[in-house]
Point group: C2
Chain length 565, copies 2
């Protein structure tokens, strides 16, 4: 009889427990969770705060009782594992209800402790109106603060997934919201120019978005004291009052609630104290079988370092999908199988009001940092046949190896069909497809769902034109630095220029270009742009085939414009 | 200077013309179209009739004038090509406006004539209230018949894409509608049991759906005669009246308009009269370069036979996506490149009221017909995290090689996220992924968009359990033929049985199974089912690990139930 002990009862741990039981009726399975809940929907927490998910109970996917009934798993909530005694293959546990301590032996141990919010050393953060959001008790406290503190204004620090979701939750509750982000963009998985679409959406919804702005200090100004109805820790007291925030630019801000969401850090205390290998990035080391440096101890989820699918290097990817699959795989391997983890692409998506922002693989910042030679294309095209109602622009960026055509990564932003396009790219990348092969993809098409040439086909056409030398391109970030030897040509219709154009551009609509080509100088490089890059390419081909030097702005004016948003 | 002549100005022809011009300013490009329109949105026609697409003009994507201005293409509408004179490399053309004839030479000829509606030899079809729908004039005539004939009841013959879309269009206009389909299912790209979901939806919307029913004869009963405001052919007269239909089962039906949509047939007249090779399936033969048996003549789109991606055999796939990509590729090759077509999977989707029905690759009927050994799995799971509002069930079927894990095909039906799942499968199949590899797919996940274990991951888990012998399954179509040695076990909660269950089943909820297992006989095979197959698998593993013989019904009661719809 194999005895499996699992530390952490959410995504990875819960998946492992269920899988282990399906594989073996005999195994003894014990799952420890120091909090009061197992298998809760942590990705749903902001949506309950914002009111999209009405019932708190819907977040509780399983209970200790349901786990026992269905999977015969001994779930011990409010039991904190204090240490791992590797020589004896035991753990020491504290029952948080009565503070008693005991040991439990294991044949295999699975570490699924997750990652905790990073709390920066900012003076004054320790106050009753400042929260992070990791679990149900955190959520309950935030809701309680909102309800008891008459919150008119909220401040969220950090423009990652949780920060953005909390920003939206506050907005839905009618609370004025400030979002502080130290970097020059939100949603770091995408590049700055793609984040511009998110910035525009965030501002359009009335959020006070402050980029390149850090929180420097916090002063708590209490008004009255209230008895707490706290569901979690007894020491947390809800107190009315407000916070005076001082920002890195010297500004001050008065707010009623503060959410710290600047990132997470792997929970490695147990592992490192037990002498397990910790990786350079600060996560628990695991091999492809999800084994730590101790073969009897496995680890999964947000706490571990895993292999990056694209680079093969170690990476930290705190996402639910990988955690779930790793948990399942760890159970397989603890019970005698040999399943190997295939690496993480970091496929991710975030809803930001009406937009979705998604990505897979490496972004341009990462490729630059790693010194990888890459090329990129931008496409903005309709989510489905534009003549059918409800089509929205998909803004799409693809990064690839200009020599081999290998896909490095993709990013997409828009109001419809964003998840689909990034899923397609995630599969293509994982399958090792090249951008050449993407041209041939045969995706679902009917007017309500797609286009005969899908976004991905179009991006592949553009990439292959570039690889084959059929087009010479210029990117949005080069436009502000043109030389005297270059001439800007706007090939849109005059009516389109009213909504913005590049200074100094000559305007010849593409459909008049053959007749008016002699207005253009042959000794200068013609830098062509249109709205999204498609007509620009038609004009580019005309000019080049007529002996002109030219470049086409990929992604057109739209990419240039939103890069500044 | 290369002279390219294109016959047919819609999807494939128009794509070829535009691509050819982008590659070469010098080429002379002439496009012939015997109808009055080029590059119209033929997939949008039913949606204009039904009112979703308000403006008729939105269907006209390009005009001869716009083609000339942008691409310097000489577009000749209302010019019918009468014959190809291969020895002289000319075509003979009739100008339909003045009936004059002339010849035009070519260096390369592209045939993109499309496919015409099959008109069966049914007595009485030739009447003014009977229509097919292929182009703008057809659409105009249907709209005119609706407007002038006070249509209260419509009959659509054929449950394919156009038939289903016309059915929905009539329903949207408040017209009572009968759909006749000779086969026992609509949407033949999916298998019968998956079509059941569509049947249920169609009936729920009040459509008079008659499967396994053919149209035998038609009698036109005119009432009054009207002057025609016809926009197309002058000989078409709109006349008030009704049609008396006689059906294969002897029933009769009175209707005000009849749409024949039983399928299309490649337009091969020009090609076969010119002695070009016609394939066994009746389409124009092409090689991988889209060349016909005459190297100067290329052909693309609905008129040709192309390579099936899965089987490598010849196939006829009249879909817009392949036509567009083939057109682009033919232009490449006419201008000296060597692009090869990679085969067609037949990826398709159809909106049927609130449902989407989609598929890629081979279906089970085709695999059976070809004698291919296959296995299949069914999954019914939420389109995104079920605790987030708006999740809908995705009903998913996957066909694969049980030995190699090769993906043969996939089908999906549901109200949300259907296009996405079939796109994922289309990419995975094209990339040559196995069902083993599908387990590792890392797809976008946030509660509004997906699940940490997506539909596709789950289907892959089920398939791999089956391949590895972790589960022994039974399929819905074996349930009605159980023997005395088998016992049906329903592991759902008693409350769920109220909405239907299998006769003779013993009910032990999965969460009570460990305690009540001794109620089950060890000498019989336990045939387990639940609602969708998931709890059934948990019960299956319990029973098998305790020494029972068991099978789990894949896809559960839901698959069984809708297979009969």
């Amino acid at each position: 009889m194999t005895k499996i002990v699992i530390i952490g009862g959410v995504a990875g741990g819960a998946s492992a427990a269920a899988r282990a039981r399906r594989l073996s009726e005999d195994a003894q399975i014990i799952m420890f969770e120091r909090g009061p809940f197992v298998s809760f929907a942590n990705c749903g927490l902001p949506y309950h705060i914002g009111g999209d998910i009405k019932e708190r109970g819907n977040l509780l996917l399983q209970t200790p009782e349901s786990f026992l009934a269905r999977f015969n798993v001994d779930v011990r909530v409010m039991n904190e594992v204090l240490r791992i005694n590797r020589e004896e293959k035991t753990i020491t546990v504290r029952n948080l209800l009565d503070q008693s301590e005991y040991t439990e032996s294991y044949d295999f141990l699975l570490l699924s402790p997750g990652a905790g919010p990073v709390v920066p050393p900012i003076p004054g953060l320790d106050n009753p109106l400042t929260h992070s959001l990791r679990n149900i008790p955190d959520m309950d406290k935030i809701i309680q603060t909102i309800n008891t503190n008459q919150v008119d204004h909220a401040t969220v620090v950090g423009g990652g997934f949780i920060g953005l979701e909390m920003m939206e939750a506050f907005h839905q509750l009618g609370i004025k919201t400030t979002l502080l982000e130290m970097a020059d963009q939100v949603m770091t998985p995408v590049d700055r120019e793609m984040a511009g679409f998110a910035h525009a959406e965030i501002k359009a919804k009335g959020i006070d978005l402050r980029l390149s702005t850090a929180l420097k200090s916090v002063e708590f100004k209490p008004t009255t004291s209230l008895a707490s109805m706290d569901s979690g820790q007894a020491e947390h007291q809800h107190v009315n009052g407000e916070l005076e925030l001082t920002l890195s630019n010297g500004d001050t801000l008065t707010t009623d609630i503060l959410i710290m969401a600047i990132g997470v850090r792997p929970e490695t205390k147990l592992a490192s104290e037990a002498g397990l290998q910790i990786g350079e990035l600060g996560g628990i080391y695991t091999n492809d079988y999800m084994q730590t440096s101790d073969p009897s101890i496995y680890a999964v989820g947000d706490a571990i370092e895993e292999k990056d699918f694209v680079t093969g290097k170690q990476t930290l990817v705190p996402l639910a999908g990988p955690a779930n699959r790793q948990g399942r795989m760890a159970a397989d391997n603890m019970l005698g199988r040999k399943e190997t983890y295939q690496g993480t692409q970091g496929t991710a998506i975030c809803k930001i009001f009406d937009l979705a922002v998604a990505s897979t693989g490496k972004n341009e910042k990462q490729l630059k940092r790693e010194g990888v030679e890459y090329e990129k294309v931008y496409v903005h095209t309709a989510s489905h046949a534009s003549y059918y109602p409800g089509a929205e622009v998909v803004s799409f960026k693809m990064l690839f190896d200009p020599k081999s055509g290998k896909i490095f990564g993709a990013q997409a932003v828009g109001k419809d069909g964003i998840d689909k396009r990034i899923d397609v790219m995630a599969v293509a990348q994982r399958a090792g497809m090249t951008v050449e092969q993407l041209q041939h993809l045969e995706l679902t098409y009917a007017p309500p769902f797609g286009s005969a040439k899908d976004v991905i086909n179009q991006a592949a056409f553009v990439a292959n034109n570039l690889i084959k030398g059929d087009s010479t391109v210029i990117h949005f970030d080069e436009i502000d630095n043109l030389t005297e030897d270059q001439l800007l040509l706007d090939v849109r219709n005059p009516g389109e220029l009213k909504n913005g154009h590049l200074p100094g551009a000559v305007n010849i609509p593409v459909d008049q270009l053959r007749q008016r080509m002699n207005e253009l100088p042959k000794d200068k490089e013609i830098v062509i742009y249109c709205q999204v890059g498609l007509r620009g390419n038609v004009a580019y081909r005309q000019l080049v085939n007529n002996g002109y030097k030219a470049r086409n702005l990929l992604g057109g004016y739209r990419t240039y414009l939103f890069a500044k948003a």
